[in-house]
């Protein structure tokens, strides 16, 4: 068991990878065996993540040096900088890891019947596993170049999955837009990595954080990194690819693309807080992040109202919700240099933002899955053509209500818990921002009322007379997420105390992250 | 000393013909004639330049003893030469054929059998 915990950071990445390489071989033998393999792997990964999380909350940062003679030998003997690739898992990383593992498990279970009609499902599952590998790699690595590599894995597999249903024009178009955007972003990230390498001859994040000086080149690299990650996470005005891609992807994949963009958000926070940290002029960068967040919130939600495609509507809401996270963490970043303000409201704002990440992943995943269920049964995403589906699809409409109430911040759901943390702490920072955030929440409710009204209520339309309830595995997938949402709604104090505060503290305490690698 | 002179002569020949190839691409009027310059002259120039390298490395090989790494240089340079000799005329043929099939007439041609027989 000790051995398992020691090696678990690499196992979490390597076991899905092994399964992904095995999937094409096994699915030549038996289709059933492949499904079992995929689900088992994901469940095992979930288990590993949980035991690793328990270990981290008990014992602090987990270090794994690849290829050295011992996992904790980060720096070679008689030398001063790390040479090998180091995986560095702290509370924030494992927080993101929990999200990825959970949502991808639900999405995989859901996809079992959602993709039943499609051909080429072995490729689908291979790519799904690879996408999970990419997300875990981004979250666990402690090396800039490795971050780039896993960013590319997540983006390429995500693009291929978004274009999976090639018989639709918009699917291919969405995939193409996603891959262009992400490879441009990734190349910019690589350029920034090159700039760091040119100045300090280092690639490790912790080692770089120790020596970084905020010179002119560092400023350029910071701007490029922040904006590249902001584009990948869909912050306004770099968000335009989001509705195109999310709308076109299969529903289970859309839920995972949400998590993938949150992994990019994690990378953004990692760069701002850990890599630059105290050398940074926090107020400036913090305000840049806050402005991005405010724009995302407002433009996202206002653009969502006129949409008549249900998945486009939800995608714009995804943009709007990521604005909340940027706002919360941006406030924390802006007051990072001011210990008093940080203690009174900065940490709360960051915790609110980080708590919102997991809430958003859960309820937005659930909403996309319900939209997929509607599409599966009716064959359309157009809200104008829907109506009265609540008569036949009772479970789906209940899940939709849970997700919609949660996203609009209606008490007692978990969306409200994180939003109220953000409102109250941001109000101390700047009242106007908090007021806009509340306004956005109201407009969110309005637009989901529209979606619910058009799709589920109203008289039963004749063309949908014999629509059936969604198949069982789709209901199980949605049920997993819905039950977690209800659990989170009922016990928010527990969740925040367990996983959110440690994650926020891990971001704030740069010194611990550095000393875990560099010693001393 | 004599070896050096031979090497210099080879280099001079090689450089001259490569220069001719470069100029010929500009002096000639159409694809086919340019192919003449681009293929023949570069191949010939390359032979001489690579032979110069080979002669020099052989002399170094002899001077340093049999197990000198220069033997690898000699052999690999010769292999590169063979590769050039094999590929260059073939690709010239492919280009010429492609040009003709895409409908480019030879400029100032006095006779064109291919055009007559395969319209």
């Amino acid at each position: 068991m000790d051995k398992l915990i020691t090696h678990s950071p690499i196992l979490i990445i390597a076991i899905p990878l092994l399964a992904a390489f095995l999937t094409p071989l096994i699915s030549r033998v038996n289709e059933k065996a492949r499904d079992v393999l995929v689900i088992t792997t994901l469940a095992f990964v979930e288990f590993l993540v949980i035991i690793l999380a328990r270990d981290i909350y008990a014992n602090g940062i987990h270090i794994y040096t690849l290829g050295a003679s011992s996992p904790t030998l980060t720096i070679p003997e008689q030398y001063m900088v790390p040479v090998r690739i180091i995986l560095e898992v702290d509370a924030m990383s494992i927080f993101m890891g929990i999200i990825s593992a959970t949502v991808s498990l639900a999405a995989a279970v859901y996809s079992l019947s959602f993709m039943k009609e499609e051909t080429g499902r072995d490729r689908f599952y291979t790519l799904l596993l690879l996408m999970i590998v990419g997300m875990f790699g981004m979250e666990f690595t402690g090396d800039m170049f490795n971050l780039f590599v896993f960013l590319e894995i997540a983006s390429i597999s995500g693009a291929a999955l978004a274009a999976f249903r090639t018989r639709f024009t918009d699917a291919v178009e969405g995939g193409f837009k996603y891959i262009i955007i992400s490879s441009a972003g990734a190349l910019v990230v690589l350029f920034s990595v090159g700039i760091f390498y040119a100045q300090y001859n280092l690639l490790n994040i912790a080692a770089l954080a120790q020596v970084i000086q905020y010179t002119m080149l560092d400023k350029i690299a910071l701007a490029l990194l922040v904006i590249a990650f902001a584009m990948k996470l869909g912050g306004v005005p770099l968000h335009m690819w989001v509705p195109d891609t999310y709308a076109a992807a299969p529903a289970g994949i859309t839920a995972m693309l949400v998590v993938s963009s949150q992994a990019c958000m994690y990378a953004l926070f990692r760069v701002c807080f850990t890599l630059y940290g105290v050398t940074l002029n926090m107020a400036t960068v913090g305000w840049i992040v806050i402005i991005l967040g405010m724009l995302s919130m407002f433009v996202g939600v206002t653009m969502a109202i006129p949409q008549i495609d249900i998945k486009r509507l939800m995608s714009y809401h995804a943009i709007s919700q990521s604005g909340y996270m940027l706002l919360g963490v941006g406030v924390g970043l802006a007051v990072l240099g001011n210990p008093e303000a940080l203690a009174t409201y900065g940490r709360e704002a960051m915790s609110g933002g980080i708590f919102h990440i997991i809430n958003h992943a859960l309820y937005k995943g659930l909403l996309f899955l319900t939209a997929g269920a509607l599409f599966y049964r009716t064959g359309t995403r157009d809200l104008n053509k829907m109506g009265g589906l609540g008569h036949n699809m009772k479970f789906t409409s209940i899940f939709f209500i849970i997700g919609a109430l949660s996203i609009s911040g209606i008490p007692p759901f978990n969306g409200f818990a994180s939003k109220i943390m953000i409102y109250e702490s941001v109000y101390r920072f700047n009242p106007i921002l908090a007021v806009i955030a509340m306004l956005v929440s109201i407009i969110t409710l309005a637009s989901f009322t529209k979606a619910f009204q058009s799709a589920f209520t109203g008289p039963q339309l004749p063309q949908y007379k014999d629509v059936k309830e969604a198949p069982r595995s789709m209901l199980i997938g949605m049920g997993i997420l819905a039950s977690i949402i209800i659990f989170f709604s009922l016990f928010p104090g527990l969740i925040v105390g367990w996983i959110v505060y440690p994650a926020a503290d891990a971001l704030i305490n740069q010194a611990i992250y550095i000393s875990a690698v560099m010693g001393g | 000393m004599i070896l050096n002179i031979i090497i210099y002569i080879f280099i001079a020949i090689g450089c001259f013909f490569n220069m001719m190839a470069a100029l010929g691409l500009h002096r000639f009027p159409d694809v086919y004639t340019r192919l003449h310059a681009g293929t023949k002259c570069t191949t010939f120039g390359s032979i001489f330049l690579i032979l110069a390298v080979v002669i020099q490395s052989i002399s170094a090989w002899v001077a340093e003893g049999l197990s000198s790494p220069q033997s690898i240089l000699t052999l690999h340079a010769l292999i590169a030469l063979v590769a050039i000799l094999l590929t260059n005329p073939t690709s010239a043929h492919a280009i010429g054929r492609a040009a003709h099939r895409s409908g480019i007439k030879p400029a100032r041609a006095v006779v064109d059998d291919l055009e007559k027989e395969k319209p």
């Binding site: 590319e152 274009a163 090639t166 291919v172 891959i179 350029f191 090159g194 486009r312 | 790494p69």
Partner: protein, 118 residues
Amino acid sequence: MMVGIPFNVPFLAVAALIGIAFYIILSQRNLIKLVMGLGIMASGVNLFLVTLGYREGGVAPIYTHAPIERMVLPVPQALTLTSIVIAVATLALMLSMVVHIYRHTGSIDSEESRTMKG
């Protein structure tokens, strides 16, 4: 001792390549041109990485017949290898998507072939 290169010309070439790549991506409406722009950008970044590791008068970092003390830095070369393969992988995927877009819409112009907006 050899004299250094004035104005860091290789770095300027990197800047020019990335600039041209962005110009192509921003201005050309042809999707294949767009992909080519990304390819040029990848080449520029590769050149940047390799240029970072060069030492004046260096030799390749291979022990076979070379003196040890003047070796150029090996890590950027390893990074560039990775980056080249990534570039070709994305290239293949992007181009096959372009082929599909053409089959669906009959156009490879980014304005004519779009179906989603607003």
